[in-house]
């Protein structure tokens, strides 16, 4: 029995005066919050601050004692919870892939229950695997136990997107991954996010992640929201000491004018270096193995180049080498001023540049990472 498509797009999700108690303790205390269509709203707070409870009230996994949640003006209590959840994507830290189902069956479970035919499910699964950068022909028949943590999390995201939901709920989706992998997935996710154009409510306890991904951030403490705003509003105008402590507002005074590219670049290790003559297929495999989004290509006809994973992915079945696909990056020297480098990146609309110490690649300079290190 196909569920109705409840909303094509999200204009507004309104949480009004929500209250939820567990025994004597209050989990969510008179919470009011508006989520605007198309934005990524972060709910951040310590454990027990009520952020997950709030999130789970949006798809009726938890029913509030008082207050209402409405999507585009419709009170969600008037909607069948199963239909509601099939219209809302959901990703959690533990991922929860079903161990007895292949990648295809995991992603295609709800389409199957909705009565799609096999060919349509396979097509959909392939599109989603491409979206999360996993070659379908390699992954579609694997079982979850045959996947790394990062790959599992990508499948978890693909599964949440199976029914093309306009609203996505994410509960610390990158929380269980090691720091390098987490950063990598965050970067990729923020790119996917632009393509998706969905409304996302995202729970985290990691302020760096909040700043990296959030359009707006709602800070929760003791079951209440203490401030909602854009990242810069929280830094420049914290509502309380707690907020300024959380966003570490003091650090914003760290003076960028004194810093050089070397101070703010990401140093590179051996695994970032690929030889220009390497065929593209094995290179993509190696990038996936190490979960690298960018690598430095040496010995190309035109000097040192950069290969990004998207390009490698697109050309994975072509008879080309890494050198053919690599792009010429912007190049800075380690001693260049960081402010000047940022200005150049902005003008050239490039998200990153290669840092060369004379003839040797020394690091990668990412504009968003620089900002992250400053705030």
């Amino acid at each position: 029995m196909p569920s109705p498509r409840l909303f094509e797009r999200i204009d507004r999700v309104e949480l009004k005066n929500l209250i939820k108690r567990y025994g004597d303790s209050i989990a969510v205390d008179d919470l009011t919050l508006d989520v605007t269509g198309g934005e990524l709203l972060i709910l951040i707070g310590g454990s027990g601050s009520g952020k997950t409870t709030t999130l789970r009230m949006i798809n009726r996994l938890i029913e509030p004692e008082a207050g209402t949640v409405s999507i585009n003006g419709t009170d969600i209590r008037t909607v069948d919870p199963v239909a509601l959840r099939r219209n809302i994507g959901y990703v959690i830290q533990q991922i929860g892939l079903f161990p007895h189902m292949t990648v295809r069956d995991n992603i295609g479970l709800i389409p199957r229950l909705e009565g799609w035919d096999d060919a349509a499910i396979t097509t959909r699964v392939e599109v989603l695997l491409e979206l999360v950068d996993l070659p379908p022909e390699m992954f579609i028949d694997r079982y979850p136990r045959q996947l790394s943590g990062g790959q599992q999390q990508r499948i978890g995201l693909a599964r949440a997107l199976a029914m093309d939901p306009p609203l996505l709920l994410m509960d610390e989706p990158f929380g269980a991954l090691d720091p390098i992998l987490r950063k990598q997935l965050q970067e990729e996710f923020s790119k996917i996010k632009e393509d998706l154009g969905r409304t996302i409510v995202f729970v985290t306890h990691d302020i760096d992640e909040a700043f990296r991904l959030g359009d707006r951030i709602a800070i929760m403490h003791d079951a209440r929201i203490i401030q909602v705003g854009k990242p810069e509003e929280l830094i420049l105008d914290p509502a309380s000491d707690l907020v300024s402590k959380l966003v570490d507002a003091d650090r914003k005074f760290r003076h960028i004018d004194n810093l050089t590219v070397r101070d703010l670049m990401r140093p590179v290790t051996r695994r970032y270096f690929f030889e220009g003559g390497m065929p593209i297929g094995p290179a993509l495999l190696a990038m996936m193995e190490d979960d690298l989004g960018l690598v430095i290509v040496t010995d190309t006809a035109s000097g040192t180049g950069i290969l990004n994973r998207r390009d490698a992915f697109t050309h994975r079945n072509d008879p080309v080498t890494v050198g053919d696909v690599a792009r010429r990056p912007l190049v800075f020297a380690p001693g260049d001023s960081a402010t000047e480098a940022l200005r150049v990146l902005k003008r050239k609309k490039s998200p990153f540049a290669l840092v060369m110490d004379r003839e040797t690649p020394a690091g990668l300079f990412f504009s968003d990472e620089v900002l992250m290190r400053l705030i």
Partner: protein
């Protein structure tokens, strides 16, 4: 010695006895499987009855099998019927208990995600809980196989036929070779069936086990 065995095999028609034996075994196990799974699912659905019902089945289990067979005679007569009933009564417990345990112990996060994706209660049972319980259910069936083999053999005492019959004959008219032949043959059958069940269990654990 081989010719002696073959003569005995022909005289006491052990081929027919074996077919009888395995037929009773198959009928009993099929009923036990269906009832056991049903009881397991019902107990999972009505958790509060799980304790008492499993306790009652445990009491049935502690009854000596011979006594149970004899007690069933006034109720269902002699022959195959009481034997099969006894097998089923004994085998419900391991199957029902394992099914119940399997269904109710699927990890919380799997169920949580399934609910969040929009599966109904029945879909969660069918697509998540039952498949993930299969390794444990197979373990229960394996125990039931061993019980059933034993009791079907004992059924020879109350006229059920099967391989218990030549064993009884051998004891009553003192033919040691017949006792040994029928005994070893039942033993081999039990070991083979248990082995097959073991292979199935291992395969299911690899295919449906949580890791």
């Amino acid at each position: 010695m081989l010719s002696e065995i073959l003569t005995l095999w022909a005289r006491y028609d052990l081929t027919a006895r074996t077919i009888e034996h395995l037929t009773m075994f198959a009928v009993a196990l099929t009923f036990a499987f269906i009832i056991g799974i049903l009881v397991g699912v019902l107990l999972y659905r009505h958790e509060k009855y799980a304790g008492p019902v499993l306790n009652v089945l445990n009491v049935v289990e502690t009854f000596p099998d011979l006594a149970l067979l004899v007690l069933l005679i006034p109720l269902v007569g002699i022959g195959a019927a009481p034997t099969i009933v006894a097998c089923v009564l004994y085998s419900i417990l391991p199957i029902a208990r394992n099914a119940y345990t399997g269904l109710s112990h699927v990890s919380r996060e799997q169920i949580d995600v399934a609910e969040a994706l929009g599966l109904t209660g029945n879909e969660i049972l069918l697509y998540i809980r039952i498949p993930l319980s299969l390794p444990l259910i197979a373990g229960g069936v394996r125990i039931a196989i061993v019980f059933t083999m034993g009791i079907v053999t004992l059924g020879g005492l109350i006229g059920a036929g099967g391989l218990g019959a030549p064993l009884q004959t051998g004891i009553f008219i003192n033919i040691p070779m017949l006792i040994v032949t029928a005994g070893i043959w039942v033993g081999i059958l039990a070991v083979v069936l248990d082995g097959l069940a073991g292979i199935a269990e291992t395969w299911l654990a690899g295919r449906f086990g949580e890791w």
